[in-house]
């Protein structure tokens, strides 16, 4: 069982933001990445590291929840949650027992743009691990009894989310920003969509999305290039050569200037705020990344941290991150604050964002942000798991295997003039704000 992700949670978004940050902030250090291409033409990026007797394999299929059929939001989530529930002639109970007996960890998740898989095995059990992985991808069972158990678990998550202020603020942000677009639908589905998903839908989705031309693979650990070639052909070779993906339109966050308040009877109000971002391949991306770091990306040194938390004690956590989805770019931040000071908190945030849009960062802030981003890269490469997920992200972002060596120049090339111009470009659009709680000093604006 892969536990379905908690829906619409701001914390989860924070985790995604962190991941995105890692993806951006990765340098080579002593790590050597090999591009391995198998006889069948399947590519994998490999870091061969034998200090620990483990193999970590991460992979992603482009697709994810944006490929859910119309009216069937949650299909990708169900598929991901069920891929490790038995395969071939092995039922879910036996499948789990066999994995456990060899301490093989296999799990799948779905997000808006991808289905991702993660395998961890001791080197000595890697042959078995690769075989179970192959079966899970090429012969998933989707037995009715397992489907109903997972469907009930996702329903339970949806029920919980209806009264959780973080989930509510996040749900409203996404459904408003991306109304009418797949990104506006919850990845875990809805009370209406989940019951309509059939076992046939799960098989169809798998056939369409689990293919070779939309697959990115990273391997880290105690395995060499020759063994990787054999492994990827064995595991992924039987998948269809081409995915059948439904085209997804590019989108820009809507609802700027709106403020949507949902009453929830809790002492602390949760605020989500954001707007359009800058695409990963845009020449201004690195400048935008630095500007965001200065605004709310740096943990204990950002402007929002100083103004909201340190000086005024308004919140325990306040953050802001850049997101680059495959069909949209955005920035999204959040905080949680006591009801009677919610208006004041949002005022401080809006003021700081406008100040940065109008004047840009100072030369000192720019220098410190560059210093941080240059120094932090080694910290993102100290575990096999971090390296593997980073290498998958680099491939999804199409940044090239030499990205690590280009990255310092890209950071250092950002001038104060660039940062000022891009701060204006990124932050001068007004915000879409959603709030859940019983806030004082703050009313809905432009709500339906």
């Amino acid at each position: 069982m892969t536990t379905p992700a908690s829906p619409h949670s701001l914390l989860r978004r924070a985790a995604v933001a962190l991941f995105a940050l890692l993806a951006c902030a990765a340098p080579a250090g002593a790590t050597t990445i090999e591009r391995v291409v198998s006889p069948l033409g399947i590519e994998a990026w490999l870091v061969h590291e034998h200090a620990v007797p483990l193999v970590a394999l991460d992979f992603a299929f482009v697709g994810g929840a944006n490929q859910d059929p119309a009216g069937k939001a949650g299909t990708a989530t169900l598929v991901a949650s069920l891929l490790d529930e038995g395969a071939g002639d092995i039922d879910s109970k036996t499948f789990h027992e066999r994995l456990a007996a060899k301490a093989i960890e296999l799990s799948y998740t779905a997000d808006r743009d991808t289905i991702r898989g993660t395998l961890r095995t001791l080197t000595e059990n890697s042959k078995d691990a690769f075989e179970y992985l192959r079966l899970s991808l090429t012969a998933p069972r989707f037995d009715t009894s397992d489907v109903e158990i997972i469907r009930a678990q996702v329903f339970s998550l949806l029920r919980r989310a209806t009264t959780n202020p973080s989930d509510i603020a996040s749900l409203h942000w996404w459904e408003t920003a991306f109304a009418g677009h797949p990104y506006g639908l919850p990845v875990n589905g809805t009370f209406e969509s989940l019951p309509t998903i059939t076992v046939g839908d799960l098989h169809t989705y798998s056939r369409r999305v689990l293919a070779r031309d939309n697959l990115k693979i990273a391997v880290v650990g105690d395995i060499d290039a020759e063994a990787v070639k054999v492994m990827v052909d064995h595991v992924f070779g039987a998948l269809p050569a081409k995915a059948e993906l439904t085209p997804v339109a590019n989108a820009t966050p809507q609802g700027l200037g709106r403020r949507i308040v949902t009453k929830v009877d809790v002492p602390q109000a949760v605020i989500a705020f954001g707007g359009p971002g800058i695409a990963r391949k845009d020449p201004d991306f690195m400048a935008a990344y630095i500007v965001n770091h200065i605004l709310g990306g740096g943990a204990f040194s950002s402007r929002l941290y100083r103004e909201v938390r340190e000086k005024r004690g308004l919140a325990y956590s306040v953050y802001d991150g850049l997101y680059w989805l495959r069909h949209a770019a955005l920035f999204l931040g959040g905080t949680a604050t006591r009801a009677d000071r919610t208006g004041e908190t949002l005022d401080v945030i809006e003021r700081e964002i406008q100040r940065l849009a109008d004047n840009g960062p100072t030369a000192e802030e720019l220098a410190k942000a560059k210093s941080y981003l240059n120094g932090s890269f080694a910290l993102n490469l100290d575990t096999s798991s971090k390296i593997a997920s980073l290498l998958v992200q680099l491939q999804l972002d199409d940044l090239g295997i030499d990205y690590f060596s280009r990255r310092p120049q890209e950071i250092n090339a950002v001038t104060l003039e660039d940062a000022r111009r891009v701060a204006k470009r990124l932050l001068d659009h007004g915000l879409l704000v959603t709030v859940a709680g019983r806030p004082e000093g703050l009313e809905s604006i432009g709500a339906n």
Binding site: L54, E97, A152, R160, S301, G375, S385
Partner: protein, 450 residues
């Protein structure tokens, strides 16, 4: 919190190292003249280090009426010293691309930085300075108190499940301070001030009450040299009194608490048994509890998940855990969430049936083998992460375990017998020594169910 402190490879390497004079021992442990303990865990895969200082003081060491003080002081430790004014330490960590944070539990308070290896000594110098050098003014203390109150809102007040957890702990401990939330009771947090924080600081923050753990791309020799040049210069400023807390009387009656909140959309129940910690357990007992928790309630192979979620189809989720890294008591928990249409009462009855079977008949040899394989492999996987390693050692030493106990854990785990697991179930899954908590939408609905 750490599940179980162990390190399989460390053990392998230590064994290999013993036979070779030139081999670097994997884990080193030494004590400076001022009483500060140091543990070094080398990991040369990336040029980074994790540097932690652990103080042997936590929420359970507070004076009654001052709950939340250990955690509040943890926040205030970032407000600067005479030598390094407010913000400088944090700025230096950011300048070098590092990460930092801190944490507090009932038994310890820890601070850490993760930085490129060449900055280790600078971090040690900063951390040594704030063992005794903290300067606090009301201008920084007051906003920080509000930050802590918002943290309490976020972690507890906004979250019915956490509120129930506080009530369960309070019911579990009639006498021992583990019954107090680490974040504190809200009215007591509100009353904390600068003088409270400084008095607590002077009493507990002294090198002879601390453990430094360094994991990463360093050698024990380097760390020893740096430690003597930084931490070694700090004079002890307080005698460390033995940590003797009021202990629990024998529990003769099961306790129950029910938290009703209209926001609860998914009811659940959780039962907590008072059990020994790793530190207080008899030899082999904590490992038997690890195995029991694994078989009963870890993942979809576990008894509780199999029977309640899959076979009977009456639960959405179910599981069990043993949390044993503590000075005085551990906790063994079982929990479940019913499917719509099943009452908490019926779920509990089914759960009790499973427990009764394990108490009567123990677990199977196959289950125990699988549990051992997984628990031991988890630790090999965990070696991939130097932060996890550093936390194992820090938490173990701060709660009275030794480095040797940590290293020997896989051997003790392998030695667990079927009989020991059954004995653990019989001895410790005793309803009379438990608290059961129910999370419900309204008290009325719950009465109907039971």
């Amino acid at each position: 919190m750490c599940k179980k402190p162990i390190l399989v490879l460390a053990l392998l390497f230590a064994a290999v190292g013993a036979g070779r004079a030139d081999a670097e021992p994997k884990v080193s442990h030494f004590t400076l003249a001022n009483g500060l303990e140091v543990v070094v865990v080398p990991d040369h895969r990336a040029p980074v280090v994790t540097h932690m200082i652990w103080y042997k003081v936590g929420g359970a060491d507070e004076t009654p009426g001052k709950s939340g003080l250990a955690h509040f002081l943890e926040h205030l430790m970032f407000k600067g010293t005479a030598q390094n004014p407010a913000g400088l330490f944090t700025q230096r960590v950011a300048d070098v691309g590092g990460q930092e944070n801190a944490f507090t539990t009932s038994d310890y308070t820890g601070y850490f930085q993760r930085v490129p290896r060449e900055h280790l000594k600078e971090m040690m110098a900063f951390e040594a300075d704030r063992i005794t050098g903290l300067v606090l003014t009301d201008e920084v203390v007051r906003p920080e108190l509000n930050v802590v109150l918002e943290e309490q809102n976020m972690r507890v007040a906004n979250n019915p499940n956490s509120r129930l957890g506080e009530q369960i702990d309070a019911a579990q401990y009639l006498n021992h301070p583990y019954g107090r939330p680490v974040i504190g009771w809200r009215p007591e947090i509100e009353a904390l001030d600068r003088a409270d924080a400084l008095a607590f600081y002077k009493r507990f923050y002294t090198p002879n009450n601390a453990i430094v753990v360094v994991a990463g791309d360093v050698t024990a020799e380097e760390v020893k040299t740096y430690a003597e040049e930084t931490y070694g210069k700090v004079q002890p400023r307080a005698e460390v009194a033995p940590r003797k807390r009021p202990m629990e009387p024998r529990q003769d009656a099961p306790r129950t608490v029910t938290l009703a909140d209209p926001r609860v959309e998914q009811p659940s129940l959780t039962r907590s048994y008072l059990v020994p910690s790793r530190t207080t357990a008899k030899p082999g007992e904590a490992e038997a509890l690890d195995a029991l928790a694994q078989v009963l309630g870890s993942g979809s192979n576990s008894r509780l998940y199999r029977k309640l979620v899959i076979d009977k189809g009456i639960a959405i989720s179910a599981g069990a855990y043993y949390s044993g890294v503590a000075l005085d008591y551990g906790k063994f928990g079982v929990y479940g969430s019913p499917k719509p249409g099943t009452s908490l009462h019926d779920l509990e009855a089914a759960l009790d049936e499973i427990l009764a079977d394990v108490i009567e008949n123990g677990v199977s040899a196959e289950e125990l083998d699988r549990a051992k394989t997984q628990l031991i492999a988890d630790d090999v996987y965990a070696q991939d992460n130097q932060v996890t390693l550093a936390r194992w050692y820090g938490a173990a030493l701060a709660t009275g375990e030794t480095v040797e106990m940590v290293l020997d854990w896989p051997n003790r785990m392998r030695a667990v017998t079927l009989d020991a697991v059954r004995q653990a179930a019989r001895t410790w899954l005793d309803r009379r020594a438990s608290v059961t908590g129910y999370l419900v939408n309204s008290l009325k609905t719950e009465e109907k169910h039971s």
